[in-house]
């Protein structure tokens, strides 16, 4: 196992040194955002200082001001709504399943995509403290929750110099599939 990179928000140029596949533990404040929050921020602006910020693609379960479960949602749904965040100084996106080639290029020289284990919602919640909320009218899943992290275990999915673990896996999966098909016929 590679050495774990321990990072704290607000993030700076230290994210540029990370490589796809590196294990990371992230601490500090993150903001949850899904489809509706992205649409709202694109229309009305980001309601806080986004410099060095990390966005978490997540719709948590919150009860009595406490985070009960907060695993990642599928990041690809936000592919076309991510550029404005990176332009505003956001340094890290957190989610599951990876993002597309356009986002990979947007991250180049600026930030990273960090993968968290889909479904590991209680593990995530056990490393979280709720600090605030924006857009509560969007509902529990779609609101922007302000969350303080304590060493969330992540892996670099897409780095700041074009490395993309998901794309590497996709390419080898396609090759394996072609071999499988040719073996069939």
């Amino acid at each position: 196992m590679k050495r774990i990179a321990r990072l704290t928000t607000p993030l700076g140029d230290e994210v540029l040194a990370l490589n796809a596949g590196d294990p990371v533990e992230l601490s500090g404040v993150v903001y949850t955002a899904r489809d509706e929050a992205h649409l709202r921020m694109m229309k009305e602006g980001i309601p806080f200082d986004p410099h060095g910020a990390a966005f978490y693609h997540c719709g948590p379960v919150i009860s009595s001001g406490k985070i009960i479960a907060a695993g990642p949602t599928t990041s690809a749904r936000m592919n076309t709504m991510t550029g404005f965040l990176l332009d505003a100084g956001v340094r890290a996106l957190i989610g599951k399943g990876g993002m597309d080639q356009a986002v990979r290029e947007l991250l180049r020289g600026r930030g990273v995509y960090l993968a968290f284990t889909g479904g590991a919602a209680v593990l995530a919640a056990s490393r979280m403290t709720l600090e605030g909320v924006f857009y509560e009218d969007l509902g529990m899943a779609e609101a922007v929750w302000v969350i303080r992290l304590d060493r969330l275990p992540l892996v670099v999915g897409i780095d700041a110099h074009g490395g993309d673990l998901f794309e590497t896996v996709r390419a080898s999966a396609n090759e394996a599939y072609d071999r499988y098909r040719s073996g069939k016929t």
Binding site: M1, K2, G21, P23, C58, G59, P60, V61, S63, I68, A69, A70, G71, T73, T74, A76, K96, G97, G98, A115, F116, T117, G118, G119, A120, A121, V122, L123, A125, S126, G139, M140, A141, P153, V155, G157, L165, F166, T168, V169, R170, S172, A173, N174, A176, Y177, Y180, R181, K184
Partner: protein, 285 residues
């Protein structure tokens, strides 16, 4: 667990409260505790995995399962949409009271567990806030010896990766390729290592129902047909969360139904590693 109803059933309303309680309990159990066969399959996969990134994913998954049990909270924030399978004995009248009671159980569970309110109108996307709606919860009923409620809460990541095809009847050999291709396209989106429900036969609408119900079968045993498809899926190396690895599917489970001689409906219902389901019996007083 015991939720008594008076026998003989006088007013059908007498059945309301026991059924509502059973539905609430089944949802709670499913959301928090994974079935033992699913846990065994995940532990087995963790032990067999050779990819270091994938091994890290299993550490998170197994730690998460243990934490959910310890804290008695839902193991995933996507607590799904509620799908119920009922068996109803001859002395229980199947009326709207039973459907209303299940909906009430869903509302109560949404507050008490708590479950994330996931259910919306399909067009205006308005969220009802209580996980019920038009045609939701989904309730399947069949006759049985005992009165049982089984719930299968289904999350969206895996459901969105599912597919149905009307294959040529001469292409039975193409079923396996369709499953492999489904996972090639799904990549990490359904939260692998997945469980694959495969429905074969019936009609266009029945095959997906078979595929979903197949997810209730024990996943720590496969017949030769299921094992061969599972092995082929695992050759493409998607791995846990699409980060690469030896195991993409924990199991393939098949349910079949007879079909038209000119048809071969095939449905793949993809399920995330959290193959949640729970059964509760409603017992006679």
């Amino acid at each position: 667990m015991h939720f008594p109803y008076p026998f003989p059933v006088g007013r059908t309303d007498d059945i309301f409260e026991p059924v509502a309680k059973a539905a609430e309990l089944a949802l709670k159990e499913a959301a928090i505790n994974l079935p033992p066969d699913v846990k065994r399959a995940l532990e087995g996969a963790a032990g067999r995995e050779s990819n270091p990134v994938a091994r890290g994913e299993y550490v998170n998954i197994l730690r998460n399962i243990a934490l959910a049990e310890e804290l008695q909270v839902p193991l995933c924030q996507d607590t799904g949409v509620p799908i119920f399978y009922l068996t109803i004995p001859p002395d229980i009248p199947l009326t709207t009271v039973i459907y209303d009671a299940i909906s009430e159980g869903v509302r109560r569970a949404t507050k008490s567990v708590p479950l994330r309110p996931n259910v919306v109108d399909p067009l205006n996307r308005h969220n009802t806030g209580d996980n019920t709606g038009v045609g939701m919860p989904i309730v399947h009923v069949r006759p049985g010896e005992r009165f049982t409620l089984t719930v299968l809460p289904k999350g969206a990541g895996a459901e969105n990766s599912s597919r149905v095809a009307m294959l040529l009847p001469a292409h039975v050999y193409g079923i396996e390729g369709f499953v492999v291709e489904t996972m090639l396209h799904a990549e990490g989106k359904p939260c692998p290592p997945v469980v694959i429900g495969l429905g074969i036969g019936g009609t266009f609408d029945h095959a997906p129902a078979l595929a979903k119900e197949a997810l209730l079968l024990p996943i720590d045993e496969m017949n030769d047909f299921e094992q061969k498809i599972c092995d082929s899926v695992n050759k493409i190396g998607i791995g846990p969360m699409g980060l690469g690895g030896d195991i993409t599917a924990l199991a393939v489970k098949v349910k079949t139904a007879s079909c038209h001689t000119a048809s071969l409906p095939v449905a793949v219902n993809v399920q995330c590693w959290a193959n949640r389901h729970a059964a509760v019996e409603v017992k006679r007083e």
